[in-house]
Each structure stands twice: as structure tokens, then as C-alpha cells.
């Protein structure tokens, strides 16, 4: 082949790559596609029920409620068809509900953990029990969702909670030297009250910067190089596009809850010390009796493993398990290894306790 024939061919390849790059960078992927219905709403929060796909006699009778963090969309749990934790659990016969906190507005700047746990979660759980006809239920909390579910499980141990699953749960802040966030938000450097007085809520851009700045080269450079290197591979492009759609969907965190996260947890470790007060009531982890599975990501830079381990020694649960997975904060549930490792283990653990 002559050089003149190869050159246009190379140009067309390059043109195709730029077209793919443009599409991936400027459009949103279709995520959260598992069929669902909205069964309850309060303020910005919504409760979704996923349409069962297995016959009633094959379903687990104990419903599962998923609670995600406050500052990101819960769509990461239902990323894309064939790569969705929710789709996986529904296909395994679980009656799955998801509590979506929604995007807080200025009017929500005073919302605290107190409100999320005692006003929103209790009501959503009441609805789950009513709709499922079950007096018992399972809770899965991820990241800050794990803080909320732990507080709930400790404050309402008689509400019918049978199983509690905590994913990358930031609960123990006793080793601040191992936590980059703790260093950044130390009161010597970070004036949380000034930030919240200025913005009301904690801006999504600042939260996003904080999460990305923990690994700046990976997030700001290597991530895009990975895409560039794989622009000819539709599988990688599709996966990257879906993840980028989720990552770039940023929104603020309610100011009251953010202040609690920084002051009560990061600076004073009040939950582990038994000093955290929710509407005047001390949160006593010793009251948590549900079966407990805590999933730890060994390569987690946002919630290092040391933050999730101490809970086991504090609770009254007799049925406890720690499951360690290689991977990062999000990767263990949404990465390529999730379907081989994390999801099957959660399914197996929960199925045995949902009879």
C-alpha cells in the first residue's frame, strides 16, 4: 500500500476517535435504567420500588432498602444495564427499594443527620414495611449512607431491622493522621462556619474538588488518558461514559449535615465515643443488634479501612462479618470486579438472612 493511501485512512481513524471523545465528553449516558416506581416522596427525597422480575414464590420475603450518600446521586447503584447492582439484586429475588435524598436547596440548609434519620428514614421505612407487608427489613448504607443507617439501627433497634450492610462506612475517626480529609478540615485550617454562612449548603464543586484532589493525577490526568488510549474499544468507552455521567452529576450537601460530618465526626469522633446526640438522644451503638456485614475496600483513599473496622467491637450484634475487597471507594461496587466479588458475596450473605 502506498503512503498516500495510508494517510487518509489514518485521518479517518483520528476523526472517528475525536467524534467518540466529543460524544463521551459532552453527552450523558443512559444510566439508572432498571424499571422502578416512585412510591413515596417527602421534600426532595423519593423512595423508589424496583419492579420485581422473579415470581412471588421465589422472592425473598424481607425487603431491602438502599441508602446512599448525601452528596452524590444514588444512580451509581444502578449504573447501566448488565452492570447494575440493583438489577443484579432484583434478578436474585430481592424486593429492592432505594431512598434518593434528592438535591438540597437553600431551604434545606439546616437539614441535619437528625432530620435525615428521624424524619426521612423512619417514614421511608414505614412505607417499605407497609408496601412489602413485612414487619422486618434489611438496610444497606454506602459511605455517608452507612453513617445514617448505623445511627438509625442504633436508635431504632426495635423497628424490625434484621440485616445491616455497611459499605465503605466512615464511622471511626480516631486516627486522623491516616485521613487526608481530617487534615484538610482541621479547625486550624478550615472554617466550616464561614463556608456555610457564605453558601448555606456545602457547594457540590467544593466536595467534588475535595474527592478528586485526594488523587489529583489519577482523577485529572490518568482518567482521561485511559479514555484516549481506549477510544477504539466500545466496552471501555461505554463504561467510562456511564461513570463520567455519574461523577459529573454533582450537587451540594445540606449545610447542617455537613457541619455535623466535620465537627461531630471528623474533628471529635463522637459516634464512636458514644457522644453523638441526635435530637437530644445519645446514639448508643451497643443497641445495634441486627446481623451486620461490613464491606471494606482495601484500596479506599476516601474511607480508609481503619474507619470501618472499629464498629464491630462496639455493637451488640452477634452475627457479624467483615468482607474485604481489593479496590477503591466506588470501584468495589461499580468497577469491573464488583460483579465477580462484591455483589455475589452480598447476595449470598443477605439471601441466607432473608428467609
Amino acid at each position: 500500500m502506498t503512503e498516500a493511501a495510508v494517510l487518509p485512512d489514518q485521518w479517518s481513524v483520528l476523526e472517528k476517535r475525536f467524534k467518540t471523545l466529543n460524544k463521551v465528553m459532552t453527552t450523558k449516558a443512559a444510566i439508572a435504567q432498571t424499571p422502578k416506581e416512585t412510591v413515596w416522596a417527602l421534600n426532595k427525597a423519593k423512595l423508589y420500588h424496583y419492579i420485581p422480575v422473579v415470581p412471588p414464590e421465589s422472592r425473598h420475603p424481607i425487603p431491602l432498602l438502599l441508602v446512599f450518600a448525601l452528596m452524590n446521586r444514588p444512580t451509581i447503584l444502578d449504573l447501566r444495564p448488565g452492570h447494575s447492582f440493583i438489577e443484579y439484586m432484583v434478578s436474585r429475588g430481592f424486593d429492592v427499594y432505594l431512598l434518593d435524598w434528592g438535591i438540597p436547596g437553600l431551604e434545606d440548609k439546616d437539614l441535619k443527620f437528625d432530620d435525615y434519620v428521624l424524619d426521612y428514614m423512619t417514614r421511608a421505612i414505614r412505607k417499605v414495611k407497609r408496601l412489602s407487608g413485612s414487619t422486618e427489613f434489611s438496610l444497606l448504607g454506602w459511605c455517608i449512607g452507612a453513617i445514617l443507617t448505623t445511627i438509625y439501627a442504633s436508635m431504632r433497634p426495635d423497628d424490625g431491622l434484621r440485616n445491616l450492610l455497611l459499605l465503605t462506612a466512615p464511622l471511626d475517626f480516631s486516627k486522623p493522621q491516616q485521613l487526608t480529609f481530617a487534615r484538610w478540615t482541621d479547625e486550624k485550617h478550615f472554617d466550616v462556619d464561614r463556608v456555610l454562612a457564605t453558601f448555606g449548603n456545602m457547594p457540590g464543586e467544593m466536595i467534588d474538588y475535595g474527592a478528586k484532589a485526594l488523587k489529583p493525577i489519577e482523577n485529572y490526568i490518568a482518567n482521561y488518558l485511559k479514555l484516549w488510549d481506549n477510544l477504539d474499544n466500545p466496552l471501555v468507552v461505554e463504561s467510562w461514559h456511564a461513570m463520567n455521567t455519574w461523577v459529573t452529576d454533582i450537587f451540594p450537601m445540606a449545610g447542617g449535615a455537613y457541619r455535623q460530618l466535620i465537627v461531630d465526626l471528623y474533628r471529635n469522633n463522637r459516634l464512636m465515643k458514644g457522644q453523638l446526640k441526635i435530637r437530644g438522644e445519645l446514639v448508643n451503638l451497643k443497641r445495634l443488634r441486627a446481623s451486620l456485614l461490613t464491606v471494606i475496600a482495601e484500596g479506599d483513599h476516601i474511607t480508609p479501612p481503619c474507619q470501618s473496622e472499629a464498629i464491630l467491637a462496639k455493637v451488640a450484634s452477634t452475627d457479624t462479618e467483615v468482607f474485604r475487597v481489593p479496590g477503591g471507594h466506588i470501584g468495589i461496587m461499580a468497577g469491573s470486579g464488583a460483579q465477580k466479588l462484591t455483589w455475589p458475596h452480598i447476595n449470598q450473605w443477605l439471601a441466607a438472612r432473608s428467609r
Binding site: P56, D186, K188, T198, E218, L225
Partner: protein, 151 residues
């Protein structure tokens, strides 16, 4: 041999460069992670953030005042007023939710105290599920059910 040669991926002259690039990225990543995890970085970002907030405060206050005056002049509600209204809506929603829960409880208690014909009340999901389960059991073991009916 010729076929093998045809199927083999052509050598990419950029592979070596890519390798060097990746090694450099790995090394830089370690350096940067160490840097952002330092006390100096925390202090520097804290100073920058505080300075930006302090410097912008007078402008923000002036803008807020001007906006509030403009909205008042145009008989429009301010952001704070809309936020207060939204808070009141949420309170109403909570009360409705509580009332719904109380009604559910009352219906449950009424049904326990005085069973009404199934056709008279909408079937709750739990009852529907149980009905489906009973039907499935009956289908699976007709002999056992016949015995029950007789008994």
C-alpha cells in the same frame, strides 16, 4: 506462518512512549498524593479559601441587598421568602404522611376487630402476596388441600 503474520497486530511505534508516559504518571501520582496529604497543603488551601471568602463578602452582601430591594420594588418574593415557603410545604407533607400512617393503622385495627368482606376493601399488597402463595401451594398439592376442605 504467513497467516500468523497477517493476524499479528502491527507494532505501534507509540507503545514505548506510552510506557514512559505511564511510568511518569505513576511517579507523579505518588509525589502529588504525598503533597496533598501534607500539613502545608492543608494550610495553603485553608488560607486561600478563607481569603477568597473574606474578600468576596462585601460584594456578596451588597449584591444581596440590591437584589432584595429590586425584588421588593417589583413585588416579587425574595429567596429567603421562597425558602421559608418551601419549608412550610415540607411540614405539610410530613403531617400528611403521618396522617396516612395513622389511617393505615386505623384500617388495620378495624379489620382485626370486625372482619369485612374482602370485596369491600382494597386488597393490601401483603394480603395479595399471601393469596398468590396460597394458590401456588394449592396447585402444587391438591390432595392435601382437599383433605383440609373436608376437615
Amino acid at each position: 506462518m504467513a497467516a500468523e503474520n497477517q493476524n499479528a497486530k502491527p507494532a505501534d511505534p507509540f507503545d514505548a512512549l506510552r510506557g514512559i508516559r505511564d511510568s511518569y504518571i505513576d511517579a507523579m501520582s505518588k509525589v502529588m498524593m504525598k503533597a496533598v496529604n501534607s500539613e502545608e497543603y492543608a494550610q495553603a488551601t485553608g488560607v486561600m479559601l478563607n481569603s477568597a471568602l473574606i474578600a468576596s463578602a462585601p460584594f456578596r452582601e451588597a449584591l444581596d441587598k440590591a437584589m432584595a430591594a429590586a425584588l421588593q420594588h417589583s413585588s416579587m418574593p425574595s429567596r429567603q421568602e421562597v425558602a421559608a415557603l418551601a419549608g412550610r410545604f415540607t411540614n405539610v407533607e410530613m403531617r400528611l404522611d403521618d396522617m396516612e400512617a395513622k389511617l393505615d393503622r386505623i384500617i388495620e385495627l378495624c379489620m382485626v376487630a370486625r372482619p369485612v368482606p374482602v370485596s369491600a376493601v382494597p386488597e393490601p399488597r401483603a394480603a395479595a402476596k399471601a393469596k398468590v402463595k396460597r394458590a401456588a401451594v394449592a396447585k402444587a398439592s391438591p390432595r392435601q388441600n382437599r383433605g383440609r376442605k373436608k376437615g
